[in-house]
Symmetry: C2
């Protein structure tokens, strides 16, 4: 059996970056830019008034402290001109700086009386409170590189640049398949030996957190039916995610069905706990991920392997994050131990506190975890305070 690192390297080897698509501005949140975005104008596009107050010619400060107000320059008005350099214009934040002025003095530092502004002091300098044209970017500058994650701040940049259609990386078409004859729909009352379907909804939610809408289906523990269903799914979807049927059970038909359908199995079995029977294969341009059917195994393998694939597919740089184990742990098996944890921060440190649970079949305690630490296989004692790689199971809540 191979190690977690070997398995991850195999997946990266077979992953190619996906295509591009053009989508409406309204729908681009949390997608990845597929091309650079360039400034269509200088930013700011004009010398922009940055405080409400008056605009003057700063050289007049040597001669006078009182300025007659000629006019008002509001935001959204065409640029006006100060006619007499001994006068001023009232100016509003966001307005164009008037012609023949070079200094904005805020209301806090003046008193207005009889149509004139009296300065408290002459201690003002040229270009103060002016957001100079082009200081943040010049027309034609790249504002956002290809591969930028479109978060709210980025959406602001796209809006200002006037992009109503956004070129983003195409999301793969994904089908999530449950197997296991013990599973019944949520709305059913299970018989004593049955349980309700839940892994597919967990994976569907995890994909939605990654901004991918995926469908779910259920396949029976029947080899012929599995084969014909999967054959069809392989033509309709880029990626098939399976929960269950990849282990050594009599009805774990997936590996043999994959082989019969010409799926190349690159990984089947990884030295890890949970998730040992994890499977990864390719079929032409398509990918199959077989997650062991226990809820924790499914979710851990989704994040350890599928998310890695997706990041590379979307061109997202994979950066490891580390956290401090918050409790002593002993683990004697020579495999990677993916340990469910609840994270917190303390004095700027990321802490990971293990979730007490009864093993990979325990879906109850999975709800308490927000991440897992991957404890390396060559160590048996893991001390409080040591740092290990951490993988988050869902987006931050607030």
């Amino acid at each position: 059996m191979i190690s977690v690192e070997e398995a991850q390297n195999i997946i990266l080897k077979f992953t190619k970056t996906g295509g591009k698509e053009s989508i409406a501005f309204e729908n681009c949140l949390n997608r990845m830019l597929a091309e650079g975005v360039f400034a269509d104008r200088d930013a700011p596009p004009f010398d922009r008034v940055a405080m409400d107050g008056i605009a003057i010619q700063s050289q007049q400060l040597l001669k006078q402290q009182r300025f007659f107000i000629e006019d008002i320059q509001a935001a959204g008005q065409e640029q006006k001109t100060l006619k007499n350099p001994e006068n001023c214009l009232e100016v509003m934040t966001g307005a164009v700086l008037p012609q023949n002025t070079d200094c904005v003095i805020p209301y806090e530092k003046i008193t207005i009386n009889n149509g004139s502004a009296e300065l408290a002091s002459t201690d003002h300098s040229p270009f103060q409170n002016i957001h100079k044209q082009g200081v943040d970017a010049k027309k034609g500058d790249q504002l956002l590189p290809s591969g930028t994650w479109i978060h709210p701040g980025v959406k602001g940049v796209l809006a200002t640049t006037g992009l109503t259609q956004i070129k983003v990386l195409k999301s793969p078409q994904i089908m999530i398949c449950s197997t296991g004859d013990e599973l019944v729909p949520i709305e059913d009352q299970p018989l004593p030996h049955q349980i309700r379907r839940s892994n597919v909804y967990m994976i569907q939610a995890a994909l939605k957190d990654l901004n991918i809408e995926a469908k779910t289906t259920h396949l029976p523990d029947d080899k012929a039916k599995l084969r014909s269903a999967i054959k069809e799914l392989l033509t309709d979807y880029d990626v098939l995610l399976f929960s269950g049927a990849v282990s050594k059970g009599k009805y774990d038909f997936l590996p043999v069905v994959f082989q019969e359908l010409g799926v190349q199995i690159h990984i089947h079995g990884v030295k890890q706990k949970p998730g040992k029977p994890f499977l990864f294969g390719t079929h032409g341009k398509n990918f199959v991920f077989g997650f062991p059917g226990n809820p924790t195994s499914t979710l851990v393998c989704f994040h350890a392997y599928f998310k890695l694939w997706l990041k590379q597919h979307l061109g997202i740089k994979d950066t490891s994050t580390y956290a401090h184990l918050n409790k002593d742990i002993v683990f004697n098996k020579p495999v990677t131990n993916h340990l469910l944890v609840k994270t917190s921060t303390e004095d700027g440190k990321l802490l990971a506190s293990p979730i007490a649970n009864s093993g990979s079949g325990d879906w109850v305690h999975l709800a308490l975890a927000d991440a897992f630490l991957s404890l390396p296989s060559d160590q048996t004692e893991f001390k409080k305070g040591e740092i290990f790689p951490i993988t988050f199971l869902h987006r931050n809540s607030f």
Copy 2:
């Protein structure tokens, strides 16, 4: 003017928890549970086979090492019974443990020949590889408390419990209003003195990250028109978020219009940079937040004040997170400095590197930030390595 802490306390004082609503299971991701969820069955609901292999009576291990295979107990089948204690049943992960057995031995530790399983050793103990009924939860136990954030793992628990309708906290109805006659729609080519609307889209995206769909509208810098539009909006929405028109400019009509409409203004002006003119008011059961119109001010105030309000409204405990400033900073004003940063982790520490930018009107550099540090007003020198409260501007990407 009041401090950031005073402003936040005022907002918390006026915030009430919102109502509840029942929504379909499909739509409950990232909402907040409004009531506890209880186990409708034991978890697991039966003594569950946890490995593929054979099930035996463990006391037989004293007498024999070879077991004839009577039958197979698959997952999803009704519980079978081992008829002869000298025999075994093949059992599959997820199956009910057969009657008259108490020990599961995995395939890895047996050899099957001529319909019998030969054990490599007799070193097995009762209840091994059995996930005992009720060990994770008993029927009637509370699995999830009210106020739980519904992430993918929680969705798995809801599915297993059979909940097709979920009682969640009601999201407030929110309208986002831009003001400022310099603003034109995204699709327009701005005149030299105009810019495109962008803050409302940034705020709309930030709300979507919090799982709230909100609409946007634009209001003109005209007092009478503002008054009639806001009067109507106050009856249609729980919360109005404004960008712009709260400062000291000649056309910053919002504060006076609010007063004319009977809005009680609890905050107008906070000792902070950016965002000094921030406004907060109430009108009956409704809330208005006035964010200064510069992009950074708008986004910082949204997170510092509106998100605080929303968390309390949804009953989410507010927990401060701290990060290490990653560069020396000097800031001489006696106000809280909300410093845009890009976060990273290093050896389990959360680092916050300041984003170079030209001030609150600089939307270009806002795209590079993922959080802000709030540097306290009573300090002027801030050293690399010191920790300060951090607020994230958007969900984590992956």
